[in-house]
């Protein structure tokens, strides 16, 4: 009896004490997939400057063009370009390791597209303070410890997407008195790029759209999962019959939206996305659908980035730290245009 009481007492005591303490949550990182070491994109010639390129997503058409830009600039100028990157934007910690690896390998300059603008800021500051020029491409970092940034002004790009959506909806003949909605599917809500595009879209839309044309307040986040994005689109369209437009903030949700529209044969919905994929291409090329996509000029991000890196290494001063490489809108009216094709195919 006495032992039982003691045991009971201890249990109660532990229960009380544990109720007073905070539970500890484990933050497990499931994205530990190893990233490859740097590989040269150009011939490696001794005595030339070594410039390292760190990109966001390996095995992606978009980033292949970024590689091409760096390679072409490297060959033109005559410097050694090395490349590595991560498989997903969630792998920002791997980019930290890659930045350290660049220092270890004696990089003369680093071009990086940060997976996370906020979380990588400290590491970028640390490298920059070592005197290694840092050139940001595609995505800004929330620090001023970098030399120059070549990227799309994503707020502007979001503006353009909203402008295109309004243009297409009006072109379709939808009355300004009709109550309609557009829905938004985003990739990763932690990405500053995506947040800026979303903010830009809202900014332009609320300033210019007819009063009865509104944005569905529920914004869905696919987190880079094309299939999940498709399910969200299905839900949105089934639950909201007044949806007339779908806006996707980046490549992965654009694929989800385009694929779902093709699957449903939903010719009534206008699609505006970002970047170029076979799916959005199918919609744009078809006469049955109305779709547009905003294309970035990523070739020039890395191309200009490498050139700027060499200039900085050679002591040139930089008067502009942020350069908008601009976007173009691709739709059924201009997709055959040779200049547009050149940008899509990464030749410009």
């Amino acid at each position: 009896m006495r032992k039982l009481l003691h045991l009971f007492g201890i249990c109660i005591m532990l229960l009380l004490l544990s109720s007073c303490s905070n539970s500890v949550k484990n933050d497990t990182n499931t994205l530990d997939k190893p990233v490859p070491d740097f590989v040269p994109l150009t011939d490696v010639v001794e005595g030339r400057k070594d410039i390292y390129l760190i990109t966001k997503e390996l095995d992606s058409n978009y980033w292949d063009i970024v590689e091409e830009g760096a390679k072409e600039a490297g060959e033109e100028i005559g410097c050694n370009i090395y490349h590595s990157g991560t498989y997903s934007e969630m792998q920002w910690k791997k980019q930290e390791e890659l930045l350290d690896r660049c220092v270890e390998l004696g990089a003369d300059a680093i071009l990086i597209s940060p997976d996370d603008s906020v979380k990588l800021a400290s590491k970028i500051e640390e490298i920059y303070e070592k005197g290694i020029p840092i050139i940001l491409i595609d995505t800004a970092a929330n620090t001023d410890s970098f030399n120059v940034c070549y990227m799309t002004d994503n707020l502007e790009a979001g503006n353009k997407a909203a402008e295109e959506m309004l243009f297409q909806l009006k072109a379709k003949g939808i009355s300004e008195d009709e109550d309609i909605k557009v829905a938004v599917l985003i990739g990763n809500s932690k990405s500053q790029t995506i947040n800026e595009r979303l903010a830009g879209f809202y900014q332009y839309w609320t300033d210019n759209a007819p009063e009865k044309w509104t944005i569905l307040s529920e914004i869905k986040e696919s987190n880079g999962d094309v299939e999940l994005g498709g399910q969200y689109v299905e839900e949105i369209l089934n639950n909201n019959p007044d949806i007339k437009g779908l806006f996707a903030t980046n490549n992965s949700p654009t694929i989800s939206v385009s694929q779902k529209i093709l699957d449903r044969n939903d010719t009534d919905i206008t699609v505006v996305g970002f970047d170029y994929s076979d799916n959005i291409n199918s919609l744009i090329e078809s006469d049955d659908y109305q779709a547009s996509t905003i294309i970035q000029r990523q070739f020039y991000m890395s191309y200009n980035g490498v050139k700027a890196a060499v200039d900085i290494i050679n002591g040139a001063s930089v008067n502009v730290k942020f350069e908008d490489t601009g976007v173009i809108t691709v739709n059924s009216d201009n997709y055959k245009d040779p200049d547009v094709r050149a940008i899509i195919e990464g030749r410009k």
Binding site: M1, R2, L5, F8, G9, I12, M13, L16, L17, S19, C20, S21, N22, S117, V118, K119, A121, S122, A140, A141, N142, T143, D144, F146, V148, C149, D153, L155, E156, I186, S189, Q192, N195, E196, L198, A199, Y202, Q203, W205, T206, D207, I215, S217, E218, I219, E221, N319, V320, K321, F322, E323, D324
Partner: protein, 492 residues
Amino acid sequence: MNNKNEIKFLKKGRSYYAILLSCFVVFVIAIYMLISGFNSLITKHDEKLSQEICTLLSEKMGTSLLFMTDSAHNVATVLSEQNFNFPDEIYKKLESYNSGEIVGLGFIDETGKIYHSEADAKDFEKKNLAEVAKQANPVSISEPYRSSRLGQPVITLFTEFNYAGSHKGYICLTYMFRTLQDIATTQSLNNDIEIWLMNAKSANIIQCVGRDIHASGSWANAYLKMGNINPEDKDKFNNWYDKMHDGDSNASVSYKIGETKYSQVYSKIDSMPGWFVVVRIPSNALSETMGVFRNNVIIFIIIFLMIVAVIISVMYVSWKREKRILEQLSINDALTGVLNRRAFEISIENMIFQSKGGVVIFFDLDFFKQINDGYGHDAGDKLLVTFSTLLRDSFENNGIVSRFGGDEFVVLTDESSKDKVNEIMERLRKEVNEITIDSENADTKDANISFSAGLAVYPKDAKDVSELLKCADQALYEIKEAGRNGYRWYEG
């Protein structure tokens, strides 16, 4: 039947441990109620306090923005005394002006021409900031934008400036957006406070202060950022946003995201039409601080009560031991250890009526007085102890043994078989007869010991204890008259 030489079995008391357990349960309930009450108090207090903190911070931001606009206005006032005739002169003067916080100075003349660095002028054109300048009354502030020259989010203040008589232009002062972060940063609760500028029309927000200092200047949209508000609180949030949309100067709201409760307040920025300062604090930011105090109080109470429990237990054990000694002294015969007369009388009352039947036996050692006189009191005492031991050996398994006084012993046995009792009595008689008292005095012979006993049966002979004892005494008397060293059953 257990050892009947202890009286404990006669009256069972409430277990100390049961009482202790009851107290413990009451204590646990009391502690639970204390914690609940404390938590509820903290929650109410925190809600009120966090809203007040939000309001204070939004006022602080508003005042700081006002200070910035005043500074801009003062620059214009100072310059206006110099009677400039051409915008070029103004711009040159501005270029020489040096202020730690201002990262860019420029001028827009009456025609809308921008006098600034090439990169800044390009930004002004791209963002159509000349239109913002025209809203100056006397000062206006641009939306945050990324400066091409600096690569960082900035805001530009525009203030009216008259030159060459009646020409109206605008002086432009650009500040890093993180200046606002520096203004809003507080030493305490800094990891929990979030401050944004929010556009009422688009619901776009730009962060001034957050958990990560690098996140300052990040754009987002409130529909996404606050999209995971618990469904039951969404209407409250929408009402709050509607007030902002309708242009109300300030409003507050509380909502939950998951288990975390937030207090959120906005206040209008007069010089930035359509924009508001929004401050958000999780209520538990304060609860966590108070929670440490609460936990310390609870731990103190638990330790205090544990000490009290230990002291009570020690006192209880000590008291119990002393009580036991006193009980033993009060119920047992000091010499022989069997029950004394008083204890026997209590026991027999309880025991006899609980059993179906029993036998009361009155023993008397024969010629005990002579033994005392002849062999000494020590020998007498020794005999009494030996005799009582034999009685206990014979009856203790099924009865109780007591010493009534002197050489008189009374036994109650629940053995109902007369033959069995006779058998025990015979065996006892033989054992007692075998007791010898050796004489230390040469004049005295060694003594042979015997006893006389009277037996009465319950309920046959009497149903009342005193009557039963009388019957046994009567039988004893008779056996004594008959020559002692034997026993006799009462026969009426």
